[in-house]
Symmetry: none
């Protein structure tokens, strides 16, 4: 969705490798420069976790996976790169020197975006030959999942560079936020830093352990922050009086000693050890890679949950999904439907609220999936909004489901559909729910639909154009084998 | 799940009404004291939003809805209350006076929990006759959804009071966090307050608008905070080096000017107006009630998403669901039944979120009603939580539904069930969904259940006690007429 075929990541740590994963999953080839002899192994581990998470994140037809190479040769990494993301360690002198090296190997119009968490781009670009193409593109870990990227220009950054970076990042499914005033740590990290300093004091003063402090966040305000920020949350807390009421009520607390932020605790060896050992205990023996997978699965689930609400990070995901589908559809638009086999009718995931306490898809949702598939079928035969508005529709009169396998929340599903028979008033369909990865059949659904005059509430013949469309499908499907299980009735046969 | 039949909320604002909703949805009668003449209307609005959210939160059988009354008479509110939650405005003098009033109307052993966001319980309990029963139970808005409640005792609080409060709150589906060291603002609000002060400076200094700051949270770190706190997040950022590496790398930034928290901005009229008008603009014309529903739907979706991962707030929800199911099952076990006719198995209403755009019950929800009825049947024949924990269960393998009539949202339904046959491994059931007022049959459902060894994932014989119970029912049901529609298969018969 961008015109970029190859990009370079300068620095292949957690952030650099995360960028590589995001670009590669959008079909862009990535070359990573990193002098660390362990870089290739570390990058591959991040890529493996990233691919795993992305497969769960979206069912949309992807743009193919770009290649990822790791090299200790900067010139090789930059050769042919149309975009550069710099993620070297957080030292101004190192970054400034690195830009000089980069500029020797790339074209004049290639953007360089820095992943710095807080250094000012005006300082970073001071020694550059073409400083107008340098800006901050500050991501959040894991870069391959979290949508936020802060864009910050320096004194010499061209406005067009900001626009171009915004376009590129948005095409990767991200939410670019242009920070218009240049300050250290920008916006998000100032907020994080404030919370972080307070948290350090709470551990320092033995008020709570790292685990208790984390719980205070993730069982309470953290759930709010995932969908509304602090202002909208407090605006709501003001009730009918809004933020004015909220500030009148809680404003005085700003003067109370509710924070120790007037100072920062000294990072003595003993204090570092205290925090580190509490954090290690929290992990309860899990490795960082294992905990990353827990985190990624939770982030995927949260973003998909927000997608069902078309809100915040979920809306970003939905829009990205939609673009991927549109792209795939427009690529497919000329393709005739192939009616020589069952039709791949519908794809979905097991929605989070479809699961029982044991995290299996609730029995009734199998029928939901068949219904959603029917909703995709009807427009195909001309029973669209206009047809329904005209007073006719098909009603389901009978359903027969065979439940063959359990399936867990957030797993991908697709439905295959076969027309088993039809006449002027009826459609007889047989459908299979498959698991999206294993292709295993999870359930079969056989249904009879009756064409009705909705106002009179009685059966009537479908219109000729609908029967014509059904006829086209029947041309192919009449030659298919009758599905195993079709026409089956329920009963216990007497033993012989 | 607690022994509390009635509790009192002293103070019926956003927090008090939220508490009322949470207690009432757990089957506990609630009396709210609030002198505001508008209190009843405001409380009803919160209750309506809360009931709407809770119906979406869990599919588990509820404990019935407790009654909620609102009164300006404190004695009336407290009469017979076995638990008191105080949520009056955040003024120490008012709260201390209120406890004196409360103590005159309740038994000596009734707990009083304060919703204060930050006042010290040692100060609050100073004038009390029985200070040992006062503690802080600090919730987070919306109280009916967010699981966190901070428990803080004062100098005179009895340890047993903390234990009792923990048990009560946990039974309501909450996550109690005992803050062991008494400080102002406890843990969660210190973290929130730090972030809040920094956010105020960013608006004050025109670095960003309230909307941009909220976006910096909800598209980035807010998504992380919903599932891991700041320590576990940074531990992960340290990669293989964990928190020690993270502190070595980012520790120096603590000395950099990445925060303005050495001071707080003055809340001048102009500054208040700036924040308030930016927040109003963010709402884009939506009312607080409307935005509350957006927030609630997002929170429900996020918690359900985390439930699929058995993690954090989702794990709290899963455990709560499980307890509700267990309770419903054990309640059904002892009931005697008349087996000379079909059994009236299950009653419900068409939930508002079960309806399509035309306010008809969604096709898939018919199956939901049959499943819920089955959930009531199984414990009746001894397939209860213990039986399932022992490794056996019945799985639905086949379902046949005839959809006979539409039914609108909020209409009452009941299900009649007939045993059509059984053997050692199978149960063949036929059920009818009736309209609760007209008795009209809306749908029939025929199902086959297979007895399984869940671990081995294969069919096996049910235990003798279950077969015995089935035999008791069969004694009666074998003499009933075979239901019309039973054993029917789906198909279009060729015309003759």
């Amino acid at each position: 969705m961008t015109n970029i075929a190859k990009m370079a990541c300068v620095g292949g740590g957690v952030i650099g490798a995360g960028w590589a994963a995001r670009f590669a999953s959008n079909g862009i080839d990535v070359a990573i420069f990193d002098p660390d002899p362990q870089a290739d192994r570390k990058v591959r581990e991040v890529l493996a976790n990233a691919e795993r998470a992305q497969r769960k994140l979206t069912l949309a037809p992807g743009m193919g996976q770009g290649s990822v190479t790791v090299t200790a040769d900067l010139a090789e990494a930059l050769d042919g790169a149309q975009f550069v993301q710099e993620s070297v360690p957080e030292r101004e002198d190192l970054k400034r020197r690195t830009y000089g090296d980069i500029e020797r190997h790339i074209g004049d119009d290639v953007l360089i975006c820095s992943s710095t968490s807080g250094l000012r781009p005006s300082d970073l670009q001071a020694d550059m030959t073409r400083p107008e193409r340098l800006l901050v593109g500050h991501p959040f870990n894991p870069v391959y999942l979290l949508p936020l990227v802060e864009l910050v220009g320096g004194d010499k950054t061209a406005p067009g560079s900001i626009d171009r970076a915004r376009e590129i990042y948005a095409s990767l499914g991200m939410h670019p936020l242009h920070v218009r005033k240049e300050i250290e740590a920008f916006v998000a990290d100032r907020l994080q830093e404030a919370l972080w300093r307070e948290a350090l004091w709470l551990v320092h003063d033995d008020v709570a352990t790292t685990s208790e402090i984390d719980d205070a966040v993730r069982y309470g305000c953290g759930l709010r922050w995932a969908q509304m920020g602090t202002f909208q949350t407090f605006w709501l807390a003001g009730g009918e009086g809004g933020m004015r009421h909220m500030l009148a009520q809680f404003g005085p607390a700003l003067k109370w000693p509710w924070t120790k932020l007037m100072d920062v605790p000294e990072l003595t060896d003993a204090f570092v050890e205290k925090i580190a050992s509490q954090c290690d205990a929290q992990a309860a023996g899990a490795s960082p890679r294992e905990m990353e997978r827990v985190r990624d699965d939770c982030l995927v689930a949260i973003m998909q949950a927000l997608k069902t609400q078309e809100w915040g990070a979920g809306e970003t995901l939905r829009a990205y999904d939609q673009r991927l589908y549109e792209r795939a559809h427009s690529a497919n638009v000329a393709v005739e439907r192939d009616f020589s086999k069952p039709i791949r009718m519908h794809e979905t995931i097991v929605q989070p609220d479809w699961t029982d306490y044991n995290n299996h898809m609730n029995e009734a949702r199998y029928l939901q999936v068949f219904c959603d598939s029917t909703d995709a079928f009807l427009p195909m035969i001309g029973v669209d909004q206009d047809y329904v508005a005209g007073g006719n529709s098909y009603y389901t009169v009978e359903t027969h489901i065979r439940h063959l396998q359990e399936v867990a929340g957030l797993e991908p599903l697709y439905v295959m559909s076969q027309l088993v028979g039809y006449d002027e008033k009826r459609i007889h369909m047989f459908q299979w729910i498959h698991h999206g990865r294993t292709n295993e059949v999870l359930a079969t659904g056989e249904q009879m639909f009756l064409h009705v005059d909705a106002k009179a509430s009685r059966a009537c013949s479908a219109r000729p154009e609908v029967l014509g469309k059904l006829g086209e499908i029947w041309q192919g499907h009449q030659h298919l084998e009758r599905p195993e299980g079709a026409g089956r009735s329920i009963g216990i046969k007497p033993k012989t």
